[in-house]
C-alpha cells in the first residue's frame, strides 16, 4: 500500500488522448488495419426450418404451448417461459395489427434517404397480444401509419419466394371487406 491521493474533486483529471478523424485519415498516428473474413452457416433447427418453409408456401406457422396456452410466433421448439416442449403447429392468418413502428430516414447502411422506410412489429391475429415479428410496412404514408392499424401481408410472387422472412414484402393497411 502507498499513500492515497487526496484530490478535492473526482475524477481529478481525465487521462486519455483524443484523436480526431483527421488524425486517422491523415495518418498522424500509426495504426494497423484489418479486414476479417468470417463466414457462418447457422443451423435453423426444426422449428425455424418449418417456419421458413411455410413462408415459401405463403403460410405463416405458429406453434402451440399448451401449458402457457399461447400460440407462439416465430415458432420455437420449446417455450422459454415454462421451459417445456411446444406441440402442434398452427397455421396463422396473415393479418394483424401494428404493434409499433419507426419511420426511418436511415437506410440499412446508415446512409440518409429522402423517402423514409417504414418498419416495425406486426402483432399477428391468432396469437396473444404483443406476439409477432419484425417487418416492413407499405402502401401507407408516414402520416397514415399508426399503432393499432389493421394490416395484411403482401407476399412476393410464388416463384420469387426463397424460404426467408423477406418472402413477405411488407404489411399493408387492411381495408374493411378484405379478408
Amino acid at each position: 500500500m502507498v499513500k492515497k491521493k487526496e484530490y478535492k474533486e473526482w475524477p481529478p483529471y481525465a487521462p486519455g488522448t483524443h484523436v480526431h478523424e483527421s488524425d486517422i485519415s491523415e495518418k498522424k498516428i500509426t495504426f494497423t488495419w484489418w479486414e476479417p473474413e468470417v463466414q457462418y452457416s447457422w443451423s435453423l433447427g426444426p422449428a425455424m426450418s418449418k417456419f421458413l418453409m411455410g413462408l415459401k408456401e405463403g403460410k405463416i406457422y405458429g406453434i402451440h404451448c399448451k401449458r402457457c396456452k399461447r400460440i407462439i410466433v416465430p415458432p420455437r421448439m420449446f417455450c422459454e417461459y415454462c421451459f417445456g416442449p411446444t406441440e402442434e403447429w398452427v397455421e396463422l392468418p396473415d393479418t394483424g395489427i401494428i404493434e409499433t413502428f419507426s419511420i426511418s430516414y436511415l437506410d440499412p447502411d446508415a446512409r440518409r434517404i429522402e423517402e423514409p422506410i417504414l418498419v416495425g412489429v406486426v402483432d399477428l391475429d391468432g396469437t396473444p397480444p404483443h406476439h409477432g415479428f419484425m417487418t416492413y410496412f407499405g402502401e401507407m404514408t408516414k402520416d397514415e401509419i399508426k399503432i393499432g392499424m389493421r394490416v395484411k401481408a403482401v407476399w412476393k410472387p410464388e416463384n420469387e419466394r426463397e424460404g426467408s422472412i423477406t418472402d413477405i414484402k411488407y404489411f399493408k393497411p387492411l381495408k374493411g371487406g378484405e379478408d
Binding site: V2, P11, H131
Partner: protein
C-alpha cells in the same frame, strides 16, 4: 454474506477515438482507482473485467487481451459481459467476489474501444440481430430503439418535447464532468427537436455517442475498510434479471426486467419505498427516452409519470430526486461497459461529497445505478449507501 465497501474509483476521458490501446486505457483507469485507495498491484486479490462485445475492439477473447492493463497478471480473473448491462453487472460481479468471502479486495475494470470498429460501431451492432428473422430485413439498430420509444410514447401519450428535456438536462449536467464527450451548457429543447431525424421518433440529439473509455472500481471487505477510510461507502443492494431475446413477443412500453432487478436489489437493501428512501439515481440513458423508461422500471415513479417529473424539474440536480447528475451517457459518452464510470463511480463520488461541480446539494445517503443491455433484455441494478 459479507458486507462490501467501495474504496477507490477511476475513469478515463471518453471520446469517439482515443489514441490509447485497450490495455493502456484499462491501466489509466485502474491507476486512478489505485491512487484513490492507496493500493498497489500486489494488494489486489482478484480482478473482474467488464467489456462488451469483442466485435467493438476487434480482438477475439479481449477479456484475456486486457489482463495486463487491469493489474490481473498472476491473479484470479474473470470477464463478465451482458452487453450494455455490463457497466453495472461488472461491479455486481466484483461485489460477489468479496461478499462471498473468496476475496478481501476485488478490482473491477471496464473498458471499451468502440472506435476500432470501422467505419462505425453500428457495423458490429448489426450482428446483434437474429440472423434468420431480423438480419434479412437489413435493420439498423436505431430502428429498434425508435420502435420501443414509439410504443412508450403511444401507450402513455408522451410528447417528444418532454423526452427532449432529458437530453437537455443531461448534456448540461455533463459540463461539470472532466471526461465528458458531449457536454453542452447551452443546449435547448428546440436544438434537440430540430436535430437531424434518424428514425422517427429518434432525433440525432436523442442518442448518446459511441465512445472509447475505461473505468475502474475497487471493492473491499467491511472488516478491513477502516484501513482506507473512516467514512465508508457500502454496497446496499444488487439485482439483475434478463428477459427473453424474443423482443417481438413482448410489449416494450415497460422494462419488466429492470423492475425485477430493482426489486431484488431493494429487497437486499431493505428498501420498501424507493421514491422516498433513495436520494438520487443514475439510470442508463443511451437514448433520452430510456432515462424515463428506466426510472419507471426502477419503480421510482408510476408508469407514465417519469416525463411529468422531468418537466417539473424534480430530476434536476437541485430537485427532489436528482437523476443523472453526472451528465449520463447522453452527456459524458457511451463506451458501453465503461459507463460504469458515470454510473457506479458517480454514485461513489456523490456519496463521498467529492463530485465537484456535479455535486448534489444536501446530504445524499443512498443512490441507485442501473444499466441495460442486449436486445431490450438485461436489467442490472446496484445501490450504494453512505455508512
Amino acid at each position: 454474506m459479507k458486507e462490501v465497501a467501495v474504496i477507490g474509483a477511476g475513469m478515463t476521458l471518453f471520446r469517439r477515438h482515443l489514441k490509447e490501446t485497450g490495455k493502456e486505457l484499462s491501466f489509466l483507469a485502474t491507476k486512478m482507482a489505485m491512487e484513490d485507495s492507496g493500493l498497489e498491484k500486489d494488494d489486489i486479490d482478484m480482478v473482474v473485467m467488464g467489456s462488451a462485445p469483442d466485435a467493438f475492439d476487434g480482438i477475439h477473447m479481449k477479456g484475456e487481451n486486457l489482463i495486463d492493463g487491469s493489474a490481473a497478471v498472476g491473479k484470479p480473473y474473470v470477464r463478465v459481459f451482458n452487453g450494455g448491462g455490463t457497466g453495472v453487472f461488472a461491479p455486481i460481479a466484483g461485489w460477489w467476489h468479496v461478499a462471498s468471502g473468496v476475496a478481501d479486495i476485488c478490482l473491477v475494470v471496464c473498458e471499451e474501444k468502440m472506435g476500432n470498429c470501422y467505419p462505425h460501431p453500428q457495423t458490429a451492432f448489426r450482428h446483434i440481430w437474429d440472423p434468420i428473422l431480423d438480419r434479412p430485413l437489413t435493420p439498423n439498430l436505431v430502428w429498434l430503439f425508435a420502435m420501443e420509444m414509439n410504443r412508450y410514447m403511444t401507450v402513455h401519450g408522451i410528447k417528444k418535447e418532454d423526452i427532449a428535456l432529458v437530453s437537455v438536462k443531461n448534456k448540461r449536467n455533463a459540463v461539470g464532468h472532466p471526461c465528458a464527450q458531449l457536454a453542452d451548457p447551452n443546449i435547448t429543447v428546440e436544438d434537440v427537436l430540430n436535430s437531424e431525424i434518424m428514425a422517427w421518433p429518434v432525433n440525432r440529439l436523442d442518442i448518446s455517442p459511441p465512445s472509447d473509455g475505461a473505468a475502474a472500481l475497487i471493492f473491499c471487505n467491511r472488516d478491513i475498510v477502516h484501513k482506507f477510510t473512516d467514512d465508508p461507502i457500502y454496497v446496499a443492494g444488487t439485482g439483475w434479471s434478463i428477459d427473453s431475446t424474443m423482443w417481438t413477443n413482448r410489449d416494450l412500453y415497460f422494462p419488466r426486467y429492470v423492475a425485477q432487478a430493482a426489486k431484488m436489489a431493494y429487497k437486499m437493501a431493505k428498501i420498501e419505498n424507493p421514491r422516498k428512501e433513495i436520494d438520487f439515481a443514475e439510470p442508463y440513458d443511451p437514448f433520452s427516452y430510456k432515462e424515463l423508461h428506466h426510472l419507471e422500471g426502477l419503480l421510482l415513479c408510476k408508469k407514465g409519470e417519469a416525463p411529468i417529473l422531468t418537466r417539473e424539474g424534480v430530476t434536476q440536480r437541485d430537485g427532489d430526486l436528482p437523476v443523472c447528475p453526472s451528465g449520463g451517457l447522453l452527456g459524458v459518452g457511451n463506451p458501453i461497459a465503461a459507463t460504469m464510470g458515470q454510473k457506479v463511480c458517480e454514485l461513489y463520488w456523490q456519496l463521498k461529497g467529492v463530485a465537484g461541480k456535479r455535486q448534489i446539494p444536501g446530504d445524499p445517503r443512498i443512490g441507485v445505478a442501473q444499466a441495460w443491455g442486449d436486445i431490450m433484455q438485461m436489467g442490472t441494478v446496484i445501490l450504494l449507501r453512505r455508512g
